[in-house]
């Protein structure tokens, strides 16, 4: 069990090229974070944000350009992947195609000279854990996607590593299986009591599994915190719009708007989440309201998603009860404490909106 710590980590894929030509963007730029021992940390971000690169540097599959990677009390920059006592589950599983399931699981143990009897015991135990006992003689290509996924997990678990690393492991599965595997991973984390580092581009996965999320964008850390913290207290527009579906509505402000608690200046933005807004046929001055018209309506069963248009542009409103109206004009209204404010650089204006119910989610 060990903390993982990244200190001023940068990754530059074109280091040699850059010396001659004009500078281009680094894949990962000067990032710092700590992954506490035993946590389920999800590194999330859009594609190309450097999350996989970061993960691969922790695993030792990618050289570190600058900075230090700490696992426990040692710097592992120059430690071979195999000597870091970590296990990794790859996006395409990376199962050895010519080996049986049994061999796939036992390969890592054979390499370090674990006695045959112990290997057998451990393989059987892990196979039972992931429901693969009946498939030990099969080759990977004879298995379904979900079963292959389990083999990949088994191969990781059997090594009893200090650290599990997952690189988008669920992205090749269908939606139903993905939801099941999410639950299994959460349970697995509880049982194993070991550090999990999990990379995904899917914020739903991040929200549902993590106890710490590290949100990256363009090689920089945007925010680190618990899922609820990122959801309720995003530090900037990027975080606000990345976490949650549909994304937070951002209303660019072009003229001075005076609200109950503060004044919003041109260039700043107001944000509200679709699920926090309501629709009405009348304006209501107890709330922040905007005169709008409904553009489209999507009936999703448990909820209804409206797309509305007003002087700020188009936004989403998500209601649990359908809003039925014949009026041409409707009013979107939001509680003042559910509003977010961002400055002209997209940074959230702290202190403006520090309503109690936001704070109570700060630490889970």
């Amino acid at each position: 069990m060990a903390d993982v710590k990244l200190v001023n980590i940068s990754k530059d894929y074109d280091q040699k090229v850059r010396k001659k030509k004009q500078p281009t963007k680094k894949a990962v730029e000067d990032i710092n974070f700590v992954i506490p021992s035993g946590s389920f940390t999800v590194i999330v971000g859009p594609s190309g944000c450097g999350k996989s690169t970061t993960l691969r540097m922790i695993a030792g599959l990618e050289a570190v350009t600058e900075g230090e990677v700490w696992i426990g009390d040692r710097i592992v920059n120059d430690v071979k992947p195999g000597d870091r006592n970590i296990a990794m589950v790859f996006q395409n599983y990376a199962l050895y195609p010519t080996m049986t399931v049994y061999k796939n699981i036992s390969f890592g143990l054979e390499n370090i000279g674990v006695p045959k009897k112990e290997i057998d015991a451990r393989v059987q135990q892990v196979a039972t854990l992931v429901n693969l006992s009946a498939y030990l003689d099969r080759k990977p290509h004879q298995l379904s996607g979900g079963q292959r996924q389990r083999v990949a997990l088994a191969r990781a678990i059997v090594k009893r590593p200090d650290l599990y690393i997952f690189d988008e492991p669920l992205s090749n599965l269908d939606a139903k299986l993905r939801a099941e595997m999410r639950n299994e991973l959460i349970n697995m984390h509880k049982e194993l009591q070991t550090t999990f580092i999990y990379v995904t581009h899917d914020q739903v996965e991040a929200m549902s599994m993590a106890d710490q999320i590290i949100l990256l964008n363009e090689g920089n850390v945007m925010q680190i915190g618990s899922p609820m913290e990122l959801y309720h207290r995003p530090q900037n527009i990027f975080v606000a719009t990345f976490m949650g579906t549909p994304a937070m509505n951002i209303l660019p402000v072009t003229e001075v708007i005076s609200l109950v608690h503060q004044t919003v200046k041109p260039g700043e933005s107001i944000g509200y989440r679709p699920e926090k807004a309501r629709l009405s046929e009348q304006p209501n001055d107890d709330f922040f309201w905007v005169k709008s018209e409904i553009v489209t309506t999507e009936l999703l069963g448990s909820e209804t998603l409206y797309r509305v248009k007003n002087k700020f542009g188009e936004q989403h409103v998500k209601l649990t009860e359908p809003f039925i109206s014949t009026a041409r004009d409707v009013y979107v209204f939001v509680k003042h404490e559910d509003l977010y404010f961002f400055d002209e650089n997209g940074e959230r204006l702290e202190g403006v909106n520090t309503h109690e119910h936001h704070q109570q989610y700060a630490l889970r």
Binding site: A59, L61, P81, A94, Y96, T98, F107, G108, R155, K159
Partner: protein
């Protein structure tokens, strides 16, 4: 079809029948040209050769008497034929082992995309683009017993000059060196191509599994490229059995038949001695050997080799 069915019944039957008949004919018509060429230049000569192997003919006379199995019997008692057979097997075995044994390690070593590796790849590939006749000529100079480069090098080490192509104990191996030199680069490139198709994550997984370089090679690399290895083996067996040009140019089967292979024996019997009967019989035996090898090739290919992610 519904419109046809609605027509008066008297007209229906002949038309449908005609159309079906036409449909059945189309595929045959389409493959006819290819089959014609195949039949004319492959099947017919094969049958002809089969007949000739039971006959006596000198390529000119109108009289082709049937002699039954006499040609085959004569072959089995012909010391030169038996030597040709063992030479062919020796040649093939050593040649294939050398090609596979060199091209795989070389491919693994050169499977990197740096300048030096690209240059090395081009260098070992270059003999392949030279015609075999030129290669044979060049190596005759190199292997010349008195003025050849090889013997000059040998003399630096204080050893006596070697009769590369004149010593019956050595000549066959010299020919193998030449053909391996020409062929190995090509098969190295094929091995490199196969290696490039092995997913990189397998090696990363192996690194995390603490597999040694040797275990990574034997457990991951080799199994992953077995289809290519089998391909290289069988193609080279067939190539080796058919070797002719180098022998014809460099040794003409000598000295004292030490480099006479099956193909060269057939050539000698048929086109130097004009004994078409025994030559055809030897040809049938060669065909039989190749067919057996091909059968095993496809059986192995179907069963043992599989690579699927």
């Amino acid at each position: 079809m519904s419109t046809i069915n609605n027509m008066p019944s008297a007209n229906v039957a002949p038309r449908v029948r005609q159309r079906k008949w036409q449909q059945a004919l189309v595929p045959y018509a389409l493959i006819f040209p290819a089959m014609l060429v195949f039949g004319l230049f492959f099947i017919a000569p094969l049958v002809f050769m089969g007949i000739l192997s039971f006959s006596k003919w000198n390529l000119i006379s109108d009289d082709i008497p049937w002699v039954g199995f006499a040609n085959y019997q004569a072959l089995l008692q012909d010391a030169v034929f038996l030597e040709a057979l063992t030479n062919t097997l020796m040649y093939t075995a050593i040649y294939v082992i050398a090609i596979v044994g060199i091209s795989i390690p070389l491919g693994v070593w050169l499977n990197k995309n740096t300048l030096i590796h690209r240059i090395a790849q081009a260098a070992i590939f270059s003999p392949h683009v030279i015609s075999l006749v030129s290669v044979a000529m060049i190596w005759m100079f190199i292997m010349d017993p008195t003025n050849g480069v090889l013997n000059v090098v040998v003399s630096w080490f204080g050893a006596e000059g070697i009769g590369w192509l004149t010593n019956p104990q050595i000549a066959l191996y010299s020919l193998i060196i030449v053909t391996v030199w020409k062929g190995v680069g090509y098969y190295t490139i094929i091995v490199i191509a196969a290696l490039a198709a092995v997913p990189k994550t397998l090696y990363e997984a192996a690194a995390l599994d603490r597999a040694s370089a040797w275990r990574t090679f034997t457990r991951i690399t080799v199994p992953a490229i077995t289809p290519t290895i089998y391909f290289v083996i069988i193609i080279n067996i067939i190539n080796a059995i058919q070797t002719f040009e180098t022998i014809n140019i460099m040794t003409q089967g000598g000295p004292i038949n030490s480099t006479t292979t099956l193909v060269y024996y057939i050539y000698e019997e048929g086109f130097l001695n004009f004994d078409i009967g025994p030559a055809s019989a030897a040809g049938m035996i060669l065909l039989g050997i190749l067919m057996i090898l091909t059968y095993f090739y496809f059986r192995l290919l179907g069963r043992k080799v599989q690579y699927e992610q």
